[in-house]
Amino acid sequence: MASDRIFGLVALFVALAYIASATQIQTSFLADPVGPKAFPMIVGVVAALSALVLIIRPDPDPDWPVGRTWISLFVAVIVLIGYAYTLKPLGFVIPTAIAAGVLSYQISPRPVAAALTGVGLSIGLFILFRYGLGLGLVPLPKGLF
């Protein structure tokens, strides 16, 4: 019950904010009868109505993960964000090995297997992408050697 209500409330606020920002859209002097504002506003209104229905008539709660699983999920998101930022400056091999290893550890907590998975995936995928498919990946940070 509560999850649907919370989600509905968040969606309602987002929809209202969306409608509000749609009213700020600049219109050009060559306007068509509908203009650039109307469709986003319709979408926002439908979304807000659906969100209201969710708040009034929520479904039963799903089984949310507990305690440690949340930490695992959080770690996974942080690692992926870190990976997104480091992929360009640090090259492919090192960030991929770390990110793949950590993800593997989050799915099945065995450190050695996870580390091997990370290194293996990193090198294997690099060979596949660089030589098999010919993508221009940079293996290591520039200026290291």
Binding site: D32, A47, T69, L80, G134
Partner: protein
């Protein structure tokens, strides 16, 4: 004889050694993708699109490769359903009902071969149906103006929301999320940016590939972290694989009927393969009656959903190619592929680029034969691939997704967006909010708005123009019925739950 000439053109495109090789690679990859638990046709095709794009294949080659992957994944889905009792994707759920009990009874090999043959029959008949029906529908589609297209897009959202979800409000909300995202970026008519929040990265809008890969592939990783990759070990033994001629003979009428049911379900916009396999199974169950012993591992219970599922996969291509409106999650992904390749689906596709359409149809026929040949004798190899543990597979999928999206734009911003969509996909699926309408919204949002605006330009702002032709009135009625009717039918058409050990 027009069709045969067209088909000859198609085969002349599809039978070159290089495209043939692509078809075989695609079928092989597709079967693996379909067989692996957690990867299905939609996320499999999604993570491969950016990579295909960077390989620099031309339109026909890329289409051949990806449709082979698509058909292959539909075939492969049955392997994990039968051996692990885990459907590789949603349409394969119905196959677990009889497939897994049959495998537990020591007939895993028979079940795999039988389902392979059923898949072949379903896909073959659907491809023939596509050849006959698509050009006819393409001629009708010429009558469609902007008002009709607007109603058609609405119909797609309504039926998809109505059929694929348990809660109408949630489906509508999902569609709005997608449509709302599609509005971000530069407005087509005025050339002015809107809803970008002043962020330069948002000026181009949000790439649908980023959203698709995030919602389908990255979200899956979060689900595996939650479940710690449990339940992916093979519980049944696979002995020598023989061809069960007797079962195949006995189930032939079932396969033919189910193919018809599945094909029609596939054509309906928004319904797709899940409905196809569901209706095929339920029809056969009703015909067989209680004496048919459906659910205990009977041959018909395997043949029906597999034929229905694959026929629906072919049927779903009809509205996608002729009208540009996808009938399922996977065809939405294929539509994304077409849009990436700068091909606009629609009636003009059949006259302007016949080599693409008929090349695609010919490659579907080829892929189908390749898949049958590959799946019967080589099924043991695919079963071996199922042994890949989740803690290797899922990190691998994530890294492939990152490289694919990164190689498209080279920007870290798209990667962050993809992670964001992954998180969104996780929450949405947890709350039982369907993600396919989100994708459909992002893909079709721009077209839908353009249709509305052009209709209003034509009528000089008169809203009744939207309901002025018989076609558009029919589409509006169908849209409203498609959205409301499932609320009342839900009690009747309750989905059977998967068997538990």
């Amino acid at each position: 004889m027009d069709m045969l000439a067209n088909l000859a053109l198609g085969f002349s495109v599809a039978l070159s050694p290089y495209t043939l090789m692509l078809a075989i690679i695609g079928c092989f990859l597709g079967t693996i993708i379909g067989a692996l638990p957690g990867l299905g046709p939609s996320n499999g095709v999604a993570i491969l699109i950016p990579i295909t794009f960077t390989l620099g294949l031309d339109a026909t080659e890329a289409l051949v490769l990806m449709t082979s992957v698509y058909y292959g994944a539909m075939y492969g889905g049955r392997i994990s359903s039968i051996l692990l009792n885990i459907p590789g994707d949603e349409p394969a759920l119905m196959t677990t009902l009889d497939g897994y009990p049959m495998a537990k009874a020591g007939r895993a090999g028979d079940a795999l071969v039988l389902s392979g043959v059923a898949s072949f029959v379903g896909a073959l008949l659907a491809t023939i149906g596509l050849m006959l029906l698509a050009p006819m529908l393409a001629r009708v589609a010429y009558l469609f103006g902007p008002a009709e297209y607007f109603a058609l897009y609405l119909l797609a959202f309504c039926t998809l929301g109505g059929m694929a979800s348990n809660n109408q409000a949630k489906a509508a909300l999902a569609s709005c999320i997608g449509l709302g995202i599609a509005m971000i970026g530069v407005d087509n008519n005025s050339g002015l940016p809107r809803l970008t929040g002043g962020n330069l990265h948002m000026m181009d809008g949000i790439d649908f590939l980023v959203a698709i890969v995030g919602l389908f592939a990255i979200a899956e990783v979060f689900f595996f972290i939650e479940s710690h990759g449990k339940g992916s070990s093979i519980g049944v033994k696979l002995d020598k694989v023989r061809i069960p001629w007797k079962d195949i003979r006995e189930t032939t009428p079932t396969m033919l009927r189910s193919s018809g049911v599945g094909f029609i379900a596939g054509i309906l916009p928004g319904a797709g393969a899940s409905l196809g396999s569901f209706l095929a199974y339920m029809t056969e169950k009703a015909i067989a009656g209680p004496k048919g012993k459906f659910g205990t591992g009977v041959a018909k219970g395997i043949a029906a959903p597999e034929a229905g599922n694959n026929a629906a996969a072919g049927g779903a291509l009809v509205p996608m190619l002729t009208l540009g409106v996808p009938g399922s999650g996977t065809t939405a992904v294929l539509l994304a592929l077409l849009m990436t390749l700068n091909i606009t689906p629609g009636p003009t596709l059949f006259t302007d680029r016949p080599e693409v359409v008929w090349g695609l149809i010919a490659s579907l026929l080829i892929a189908n034969v390749v898949l049958l040949l590959m799946n019967v004798p080589m099924v043991k190899i695919f079963v071996k691939i199922l042994m890949v543990p989740a803690w290797v597979l899922l990190p691998g999928v994530t890294m492939i997704s990152f490289v694919g999206i990164y190689s498209l734009s080279g920007s870290y911003f798209d990667l962050l967006l993809m992670i964001g969509f992954g998180g969104l996909g996780y929450v949405l699926r947890k709350l039982d909010i369907p993600t396919v309408p989100v994708i459909l919204g992002i893909l079709l949002g721009g077209n839908m708005e353009n249709a509305l605006r052009r209709a209003m330009v034509l009528s000089d702002g008169d809203a009744t123009y939207l309901f002025s032709s018989p076609i558009s009135i029919g589409l509006w009625v169908a849209a409203i019925v498609g959205f409301i009717a499932p609320m009342f039918l839900r009690g009747v058409l309750r989905k059977p739950q998967a068997v538990t050990d």
